[in-house]
Symmetry: C2
Subunit: 336 residues, 2 copies
Amino acid sequence: MSNPRPTLQAVAERSGVSMKTVSRVVNGERYVAADTAARVLAAAEELGFRPNALAREFRAGARSATIGLITGDVANPFYSRIARGAEHALRDPGYSLLSASNDEEPARERTLVTQLVDRRVSGLLVVSADDDHAQLDEERRRGTPVVFLDRAPTDVDADTVVLDNADGMRQAVGHLLERGHRRIGLVGDLSRLSTHRERIDGFRDVMRQAVGGDWERYVRSGSHDVRAAAEATTSLLAEADPPTAIVTTNNRITTGALGVLAGRPDAPALVGFDDFDLADVLGITVVAHDPDEMGRVGAEELLARIGGDDAPARHHVLPVRLVVRRSSGAPVTTAS
Amino acid sequence: MSNPRPTLQAVAERSGVSMKTVSRVVNGERYVAADTAARVLAAAEELGFRPNALAREFRAGARSATIGLITGDVANPFYSRIARGAEHALRDPGYSLLSASNDEEPARERTLVTQLVDRRVSGLLVVSADDDHAQLDEERRRGTPVVFLDRAPTDVDADTVVLDNADGMRQAVGHLLERGHRRIGLVGDLSRLSTHRERIDGFRDVMRQAVGGDWERYVRSGSHDVRAAAEATTSLLAEADPPTAIVTTNNRITTGALGVLAGRPDAPALVGFDDFDLADVLGITVVAHDPDEMGRVGAEELLARIGGDDAPARHHVLPVRLVVRRSSGAPVTTAS
DNA sequence: TTGAAAGCGCTAACAG
DNA sequence: CTGTTAGCGCTTTCAA
């Protein structure tokens, strides 16, 4: 039944050459006579030889041809598109992706980092859920390149690939102001996330100019899942003087808000952060960007580091753009 | 800068015991004196020792604590939820997921299988894009357990986890018939996919009873992406006698159909296969199921096989259920 | 152009 | 309870 995989040694015996010669042939090195190579190849073929990647990578100092990817949840479309972008970029260089979800929990993230480093991944791409990056920095110093995606760490200086969050929010709010909105609400994620903070900063920058100190009146942070976002949206609408427009700070929050807003005749205008599959069908105005690109750029940065590039940390900022659709509606004409 | 990770041997020297003893402590084996263990642990801690998983797994006959997952595209929500389900089930037993996309191309799938087997994964979860499973079967016989997800192979007898596709489609069509529809269209994926064929079978079963040999009139197979689905939908609507209802056979096709149908006053009723994030907001009737569960069941089947279970192949069929929403509308009253 | 020897870090197997 | 020995499959010296 389960005849074991032949080893390189078996191929050597079969073809009557040394292991080193087989190794040379298998790895396409030079300095092998054509007929020797042919003989070895034939033997390998016949025996069904396949090099043992574990053995190869185990050798001194070597690392596995594997990259660890840590995100909050593989099934979140934002993260899974990052994964796709990274996978595509890593394909040709021959790396596989070990992907894992931290469920947005710092403790779990640390376990994953340990696990991946123990497995000697060649590098780490991480959308960190942790504020403290001492562990990651330690591993980086020990020799595992790390690239931070989406959320830039504030406690260490490392390679990052992030969105232009503040700019995106400025565009969103600027657009709503142009359309005449003044009571603009914001439903946002946990304040500890740097992305969230930057988006709030953008919101404030533009709003303060328009409405002054009152800018924070309709800001509701802390929604980390669809349900919480729905509740925050509902509470905004229940205000005495409800906002005429709402911006959300990520795809899940947009989903939650939509669940509340859909079908309401008095629904405020809406601009969501992150584009999503059916945004065009639903006619939702969004701050769009390309998550695949984030994965791709991160992977390439990592490959450079793996290749020995030890220049100072690089900080990539990916552009975002406002895609105007029906949900940001016609200009508001009602008095404040 | 990059002081290398200490080895088990270093810990042994530091604490003045043999490597085997350190190994025992590190692996929590019994028969170690409490104070010896304490000393070893202290040394390990002090040196920052971490076992080299590669070395550990490399050893004779051992396999890596890794499971390969092959799907069409990590960023497709159906697949990424399978990944999540599998990841969660594999977490406690200590396995990591090496996930890769075959882009629905058989050639790429074979490359991936080779790559993963070379890396000595403990098992393989695969949503196969290939009709020919000789390679996978060969690897299975060589000792790598394989579980087929979503699409059952017809050429080999192996463990499978699939949906009750025909039943789902029967429910969808039965529901539309009940509402009075007779001209029911179907926009479907590539005919070579077993899932698609089964869904068509379900469609035919119910339709033949209602409309006889005419059941195939509005069936359009072969749409493998959103755009093709949109085109097929458009062409259905352009018929002289267009269908009053349309069923789609997966989430991407539903997206394509929605792009065409949304906003059309004469839009036919719609039932989609696969539930999706905003289906409730959009009010789309769907055949729902739980992709996480598919990943979970597949992972557990695999774990059983890894554990040595060599019972005959098991075939898990997961239930689907019709979720009625607005898109399947009010009963049709127009004459045929 | 080819080969021999050594060793990566760890753990079974077998003593003590 | 603890230690010794051997070896996983491969590649890197170094030598022929």
